[in-house]
Symmetry: C2
Amino acid sequence: VRTKPSRGRPRDPRIDEVVLAATREILARDGFAATTVQAVARRAGVGASAIYRRWPSGIELIESAVFPHLDALDVTPTGDIAADLRRFAASYCRLFGAPAARAAIPGLLAAYQSEPDQRRVLAERIGEDVRPAFRAMLASADPGTVDRAIDADAVLDLVIGAALYRTFIEPFTSREDPDDRVTGLLLRAVRPTVKEERDRAAE
Amino acid sequence: VRTKPSRGRPRDPRIDEVVLAATREILARDGFAATTVQAVARRAGVGASAIYRRWPSGIELIESAVFPHLDALDVTPTGDIAADLRRFAASYCRLFGAPAARAAIPGLLAAYQSEPDQRRVLAERIGEDVRPAFRAMLASADPGTVDRAIDADAVLDLVIGAALYRTFIEPFTSREDPDDRVTGLLLRAVRPTVKEERDRAAE
């Protein structure tokens, strides 16, 4: 039975956390298809209505559970662009590779095929929300390591794409040091051009 | 009723094509879950046994139907590395974005979660099989555009990852000229370093 939200009573934030944790647990253990609102409600010991009051559907619930805070990517820039890029790429691999996310992402992508607008949510959570911090990281890199004209968004696209590919298609075990290889290429991509170097030397 | 393969009778290759075309049709129209061996057999007008004689399961059938020949990527090198890289990246976007592939890939990724070994097949079909041609393309680039020490496999990883990301997560419409942006970064990544330039000038 769906109950209407009680007016005036503040939402208990602890329920949010219990429900999100139960969602991650079921995803990791039983997979995407088994992660229904009913199953989460049972596991969390709350009514389905308490979940629907917070998330309009199982899809939104799973999105929240799997991509909760992207500050977990830890993008505080150090100035050492090699270390920062590597840390950033590794964070995405951890994010996508966590058991709940690994179970959720193919299911979400399949669900978006019937609702293309909804895929915007995933794009925002894994990409858009991170762009400002990523731009700041490139901007604060040590002099001479990053071309000022570089398109930070395009670099971020490559970082996320590489992490997706590694998590879902290319097995980690088949290549050595994939982090170094990708980071090495990205460093080459962002460094100043020969012309920029010359211009700087002439200044 | 499953029939055993008739010994001595050669397999009719036309049946393969009819079955693969029916598989793509059902994927594009009805989605991954609806693309069962039974549904394909009905659509193709053959017995399920004729399909099982060729593919051990629906997963292998879908893999063959969606990633049939990667020579379709057209990787004949022209020497113009900018044009070649761009054409290569666009080919992957077309490959992943074709209606049958778009429907199949999330389903395949989900299926691989219970059978991680099988994901090797997808990795081979979309990546490994293309590596030699991709290496040849970088090797035949015009002088001065590609560092001889560049890791071609790592570049290919970035190309495939970017295409995956664009096809399944980032909507095409939200960015301008994504091909140019990614190709531009990849060109920067593969070009010779300042030091290599100097060494060449000193030769």
